[in-house]
Subunit: 266 residues, 2 copies
Amino acid sequence: MTTLPKVGSFQFHIESYVCDFTGKATLPVIVSFIFQAATAHANERGFGYDDIRKDNIAWVVSRISIEMDEYPEHDENITVETWIENVTRFFTQRCIRFINKDNRVIGYARTIWAAIDIVTRRPVDIPAWRPDLAEYVVPDKECPIEKLAKIPPVNGVEPDMGYTVRYSDIDINQHMNSIKYIEHTLNTFDLKLFQEKFIRKYEIVYLVEGVFGDKLKLYKQAVSDDEYLIDTKKGEESICRNRIIWVHGTRVHSARMNGQMTEIKK
Amino acid sequence: MTTLPKVGSFQFHIESYVCDFTGKATLPVIVSFIFQAATAHANERGFGYDDIRKDNIAWVVSRISIEMDEYPEHDENITVETWIENVTRFFTQRCIRFINKDNRVIGYARTIWAAIDIVTRRPVDIPAWRPDLAEYVVPDKECPIEKLAKIPPVNGVEPDMGYTVRYSDIDINQHMNSIKYIEHTLNTFDLKLFQEKFIRKYEIVYLVEGVFGDKLKLYKQAVSDDEYLIDTKKGEESICRNRIIWVHGTRVHSARMNGQMTEIKK
């Protein structure tokens, strides 16, 4: 074990090209910060992509749940803290806390990762493979996000026009970039919604990896005025499922009192 | 006039989320660096967007021509130098030089900007409006890129499936993001091409601003194995025209000898 703290802390600067028309960093960018922080945290501690490639294993993100009180603005810095909350047989849970320029917590995320055998594409028994990961677990640091629930399939609605997976969707591993699913999901919404509301909570479950040329359709269902389910499908098969909860305005003020986000608890 | 040097120099770090599957920064990202450097250069010298908004005037990019010997890789730094080459009645030419981590010049760009009256949408007589801009002109710094030629329209070909302008395409000014036209243009090419070749030269002429909901079609014509014209149209009207020249491999070695790029001169 290294002498590094169990919680990693990484800073990002909000460049203009990661902002949308509201002048704030977009959700896909915030999620990309999660991936970068997770990658750096794991690399520094000896279980990053490069370290585990020796074992023919790769980390694959399975679920993300993120709740933001507000989004950082152009030219601000944001600090992204990340730590491992637990390690079970086939999954690790990694938590994230977002801290703004005024040292105020503005959001949390919980992510679930599997370790996949690159050859067989099957999940690896994590504690058997890397018992040392247990030493990095921080079980008691607060991450006030509900446990990730199942996102139901969407049925009986007409699909959005969808998209074909193209060059700009493909990541360094030649799969569909995990961030791009989120970008395409957001593109099913009218600009007006982004003017009036912001994305308070977002969940995604990754089911199948998209590849270049896949023709994907998005099935969107309004659960309420502010909650939507979006199912990304290739033919009949779900590629990823998304849940979005919008809130009026640009921020939630009282959210972090007592570390609870009571106003969206159901 | 400020005491700042006429040539501005800005550094960028290549984050993983700005790389494509080849592990290098993409062309749209390199162009975004041009915009950021141009914006910072103008801001520092008193003629940036915020300064000129007082006069109800905005800078609008009209043309870009960029030639790269190679693209910077993930985790590298790149230095972007920019300066004004000349100011004519309705346009300024701004040059860019890209320098890699080994202090080697890896590319150049030339961009043409108009100053537009925000209310009338008409071009402003720049020397009459801001005679002080002449003091920033660097007429003799080398920028070995051919003068920007007209990009012809594309006729007689079937359009690509095209795209609708959506949330992720819209910039902070609520217009189609100038970078996104380039991303969609590149998306007309097969992944195989990006594996075998790289974009040696790229030109774009912006003609009309796209807005949310526009349904755009891309008309692509192969001039040769390595040269393509792509016309982005809304109905019969050209929104922007692009020319791409590909070269085999990942870099051109001898390009900058004598500051000439003889191998693609025609």
